[in-house]
Symmetry: D3
Subunit: 121 residues, 6 copies
């Protein structure tokens, strides 16, 4: 498959995750090209796991790693996949014991910000 | 709730996760007491997330963190919750991009070991 | 012990650490409930380590992990336990060699902020 | 101070921590030279924190980071500083909540090994 | 480009890094397919950085992260790119200050093992 | 060598890395004293690796660890060593696969900020 086609598939998959059209053009930024071609085009488009499960494990990883900025994006995707704000709270409480309290507190800051902006709570 | 009761509920919940009776007695080891009382008794027993989802996000966190020894336990629990060996492979491929390749390779070693011992593949 | 009682004991213990009354009510926020019940109520209240040592090892862990936001809280507790600003500087210099320079630099930013606000230096 | 002198001071300080004479010669291994000159000679020899506190925060950092191999060395030093096996257990239980359960479990493996070999329990 | 072609290019690039032919067939293992197609086929084959520099920054990252098993592979590649055992020692000493001493010690174990097996020292 | 002399050598080495005179006086701040004496004076001044390679592996480690603030300093040093903005982009794309996407995204934020301020792009 040509790179531009993989980019387009990745852009579409990311849009499906987020529930809105993502505007982005191939060739403008090398890192975004790789992100859409390889990560969203190839990996997120693979069969074998539902989009809801891919979104959930991505957020679980980001909570355990304490990646606040990324969570501000991916919690929106998880809400769009039908996981509720209450379930996200449970994920954070649960994973505080695996990635440590400080990472969970960072995840809570991201969740609070996303819940407010999206009206999820 | 008394500590011994919380221990017992945690022991039962861990057994439910793993699909077998877990023999363990309260009071023998402080760390295991806290693990069964607080982590499995209080946290894993909370409502709001299915046992299958708790198992999946725990494994996702452990893959992203590269915790090979813990995964040898929790992949067994995840298989017992009905997630297949192929789905576990997909989780590892997906999360290699969030926690990094070396942690994914460690997760693969754990998965291979568990799949062989359980006959999952 | 009932959850509300554990919450109350955790709230009191956190207040003892910080040297001031902490106002917080059980039932308002699930994550804070777990934090006061399990972490401060159960764990920080255990015998076998002094409050000063619990505070010191918590700060040591947070320095090694580079958790700047958490350190802004816990350095206040450590000062309140009688550890001086100079000793906190020494901890950061020492642990730069175990958790790496970038995490130590983050800890220094937290310490500078706390020392200014508390008048510790 | 000449490098050989710093090496010698570092070797002596490490011996003081561990409670036994450490045999090592300057110039045999670059990494060990830096470890004895800079880390043990310069840093561990600084005033402002007791050797017991330096040992305790080093172990706290290593528990939070899950560094099993290093803990096999530093738990011996901590026992030699008068901290008991029960206190080390408490440190691990406490820090499981800051560095995460998997790192605490790794620390427990190191502690069990050291307690057996030293007869501390 | 077809997946099989990307796999083949990745297999060849990995062989170039290691200085020997790598035997591997597309389709046998999903994770290895992604590793050869995406990581070695797409990424390591990109222009803009020499193979020597890609090898060096990969090893630097693995040292800072303390990934002992991966370093046993990538130090061989780095030696094959003309970086000497002495330079690898310097990298470890240098990066001990950024990723922390315990990760550097793990890197040293990997380096010692590779230097012995390859006769690099 | 006296501490003040090591400080001076470290200050000079840091200035060489950054391509400008660094004004700093020994004795004002303990952490900066250790940074200039031990890290830049002793370690960065060692023979066996070029300044360009030391700068490159430092940035590689910081990308893999996601240390955004430190990268804002060290990317300037790397540009000063003759590594181009395009090569830094390549480093980030490459290391996204070893330290994970979220750390690479943090590195990108640092790079964008530095490229703008220095006019490198």
């Amino acid at each position: 498959m040509a790179d531009a086609e993989r980019f387009e598939q990745g852009r579409a998959r990311f849009g499906e995750l987020m529930g809105r059209d993502i505007k982005s053009e191939s060739g403008a930024d090398e890192f975004m090209d790789v992100t859409f071609e390889n990560l969203f085009g190839d990996i997120w488009n693979r069969e074998g796991l539902s989009l809801r499960d891919r979104s959930m494990i991505t957020c679980a990883a980001l909570i355990a790693l304490g990646k606040e900025e990324e969570l501000k994006i991916h919690f929106r995707g998880l809400l769009n996949q039908g996981v509720t704000a209450d379930e996200i709270d449970e994920m954070i409480i649960h994973l505080a014991h695996y990635g440590g309290w400080p990472n969970a507190v960072a995840a809570r800051r991201a969740a609070t910000s996303v819940f407010e902006k999206t009206g999820a709570r």
